[in-house]
């Protein structure tokens, strides 16, 4: 087993243990903080699938994150006041069933990612970064100025949506639910990456020309990965909306996209559990530096800078050692 494997195990065991201790001592805030790490980490893992393994540096994944969040928000909003989302040409009301919400979020994200990918993947490199940003910005400005769901003010989810057999409004239960999803997604990603699909995807990242010349068209491989990545991120977005009890255009902003990228780089690009570590570290810094000084952003910047300069390959690169390439 590699060092990276053991680091991952420690993190994945450590999180629920920490949450359990917090649960026993009644620190729901800590549990929520851990849930936040998991949900953001999940989004980072989703982005990493496209960015780390497929080489698609998307600066627009907030679009999918926000989409997921808004699906949760809008469904809950309509379920709360019993109104219809659309009345023409068919009637569609809200729902407070998480499973259904997730399915819708994932489905819509897949459709959106398919469309965005279809256009964006014609470009590459920095052009790809910018065109994905463009699409996300469109959604962002739309959300800000569209009054129906609160515009810039966002939308509250007053009661957390329901999941069969889980008391979602209890912090620890919700944590466990999110953690289970995280494990499931990690498992799937791990399989995907080491399967033939993953090999083709990584080949496409390194050298698309090579891939074509051995007879694998890079475009569909990349597009599929882009869609899968968006689906994971949308799921994370939906959970994030539930966690905060609130969704807003800030979930769609380029800052959000940037933060997701930071989780990935900070944790380690192309490392399965890397983005989770990135998210944990980032949330910890953001939360606890603020308590130390008003100038916390200054020091946050210094710490991040030091990490890039001295830890090549992110935190996972630093403590997990080199990746294997056999």
């Amino acid at each position: 087993m590699t060092r990276e494997f053991w680091v991952s195990v420690v993190v994945l065991v450590g999180l629920p243990v920490a949450a359990f201790i917090a649960h026993i001592t009644g620190e729901t805030y800590i549990i929520n903080l851990l849930t936040r790490m998991i949900v953001l980490g999940l989004a980072g893992i989703g982005l990493n699938f496209a960015l780390g393994y497929g080489g698609m540096v998307s600066f627009g994944h907030a679009a999918f994150f926000g989409l997921g969040a808004y699906v949760a928000g809008i469904a809950a909003f309509h379920a709360f006041d019993d109104s219809l989302i659309v009345s023409m040409p068919f009637e569609l009301g809200g729902t407070n069933q998480m499973l259904l919400i997730w399915l819708i979020a994932i489905f819509l994200a897949a459709v959106l990612a398919f469309l965005i990918g279809l256009i964006s993947l014609r470009t590459s490199g920095v052009y790809f970064i910018m065109i994905t940003l463009a699409f996300a910005q469109m959604l962002y400005y739309f959300a800000i100025s569209w009054p129906a769901y609160g515009g810039e003010d966002g939308l509250s989810i007053y009661l957390r949506n329901e999941f069969p057999g889980v008391q979602t409004d209890k912090a620890f239960s919700f944590f466990l639910l999110c953690f289970a999803i995280l494990l499931l997604v990690l498992l799937l990603c791990w399989r995907f990456i080491n399967a033939r699909f993953g090999a083709a995807l990584q080949g496409a990242r390194m050298n698309a020309l090579r891939l074509s010349s051995i007879g694998i068209a890079p475009f569909p491989v990349k597009l599929t990965a882009f869609v899968i990545s968006a689906m994971i991120v949308a799921l994370a977005g939906a959970l994030y909306g539930e966690l905060n009890g609130f969704v807003s255009p800030s979930n769609l902003s380029w800052h959000m996209s940037g933060e997701l990228i930071i989780f990935v780089i900070l944790g380690g690009v192309g490392r399965l559990v890397g983005p989770l570590i990135g998210a944990i570290v980032f949330v910890l810094l953001e939360t606890y530096l603020g308590g130390l000084t008003d100038r916390w952003q200054f020091f946050l910047g210094l710490i991040l800078l030091a990490t890039v300069l001295f830890a090549n390959g992110g935190i996972m690169g630093l403590i997990g050692g080199r990746t294997r390439h056999d």
Binding site: E27, T28, Y29, I30, N32, L33, R36, Y141, I144, S145, P147, G150, G151, E152, D153, G154, S156, Y158, Y240, N244, G245, F246, S248, S250, N251, H255, E286, T287, G290, G291, D294, R295, W296, Q297
Partner: protein, 361 residues
């Protein structure tokens, strides 16, 4: 003993990044009030939200579930308030707004634990609309950024303004170039311009407006002409009429003491936001003096009574627990070489808000 705090107040405000000046003023005003009261009863926790809704939610969660605060306050921005307040007040925590007053929390969404010690978002704009009538303007050109607070602003203005419209524009949030809008204003035949462009947007607009050489008078809420921002606008702001529920030159004793103490303590003139932070603290102090927080109903009643000397003069709560107060019209002047405001008239007297009727409490 006095060492044991009896009331815990959590302040979530913006202390870093672009809009930090406002949060800093609210915090300073608030702390000044505590200091002046010599109060040991209140334990104040402060955290920076960096103007991100998610951060505000996280901090609120920490304050409520971990620090067990009784009262929350401090949020500057409507969208952050919307993220935090509904959930917090439903959970039984008091929230006292020192700045934002989104309509969604004033009408149907009002709550017994939510108090607004500043204004409902529409208020200052309404006063300006009323003033426009009094000043004899009949053709106003109005503009605001394209987001909810911007829409509230124009709605508020139009609610009182009786003349016709020379044009209505929603600009992009964060826009810095207003040449196109100014050209439209110039060609609209307007006799007055009303704008709501908070922060840097207002500074840019005013500078460029002055540059363009148009002399159509400008009206706006206090936000673009407040003490913290005037210096940056410069002489371009001279003579502009703006509306505010507070002004440095109000003559009531509370205000005089406040302004003096603020300058003494922080070595700068207090801003609107500082006055709001100051009042918020005094409101909480007044309630704490009357009732114990363990009796929530009593504490709520005490808050509702608003039994404190507001720096803005008479102050009371309406049925939706938003202020009923005078809104003044001020003019930007130069005083000892420093730009500041002077009250010229009362825009609206004892003014409540339009959403109170929808509030079923």
């Amino acid at each position: 003993t006095t060492a044991q705090a009896e009331l815990k107040v959590g302040m979530i405000t913006t202390l870093s990044g672009g809009g930090a000046g406002l949060g800093v003023d609210v915090r300073d005003g608030f702390q000044l009030a505590l200091k002046m009261a010599g109060d040991q009863q209140i334990e104040l926790l402060i955290e920076d939200d960096a103007r991100k809704p998610e951060n505000a939610v996280k901090i609120a969660d920490k304050f409520i579930s971990s620090d067990k605060v009784d009262v929350l306050t401090g949020i500057i921005w409507s969208n952050l308030a919307m993220a935090v307040v509904p959930k917090a007040v439903r959970g039984g925590t008091f929230y006292i707004s020192p700045n934002a007053g989104p309509s969604a929390l004033a009408g149907k969404g009002c709550h017994e634990n939510y108090f607004n010690a500043a204004w409902q978002n529409d208020n200052l704009h309404e006063a300006m609309g009323n003033y426009a009538n009094e000043a004899g303007y009949t053709k106003s050109f109005i503009l605001a950024p394209n987001y909810p607070a911007g829409k509230d602003a124009l709605t508020g203005y139009k609610r009182f303004y009786k003349g016709e419209s020379a044009g209505e524009i929603y600009t992009k949030l964060g826009q810095t170039d207003y040449a196109a809008e100014i050209a439209q204003i110039k060609n609209s035949g307007a006799d007055s311009v009303f704008f709501f462009l908070p922060g840097g947007m207002g500074i840019s607009f005013m500078k460029q407006y002055a540059q363009s050489g148009i002399d159509i008078p400008v009206l706006g809420p206090a936000f673009s002409f407040d003490q913290g921002i005037l210096a940056a606008v410069g002489d371009a702001a001279l003579g502009v009429k703006n509306s505010s529920q507070w002004s440095k030159d109000l003559t009531n004793p509370a205000n005089k003491a406040f302004v003096e103490a603020f300058v003494e303590e922080y070595d700068r003139l207090p801003s609107l936001y500082a006055s709001q932070g100051f009042d918020t603290a005094n409101l909480i102090l007044s309630a704490a003096a009357k009732a114990d927080i363990s009796d929530k109903a009593a504490f709520r009643e005490a808050l509702r009574a608003a039994d404190f000397e507001s720096v803005r003069g008479d102050f009371k709560f309406g049925p939706n627990q938003h202020p009923i107060q005078n809104i003044y019209v001020r003019e930007v002047i130069k005083e000892n070489g420093v730009l500041t405001n002077k009250i010229v008239s009362i825009g609206l007297e004892n003014h409540g808000d339009a959403y109170a009727v929808d509030c079923k409490m």
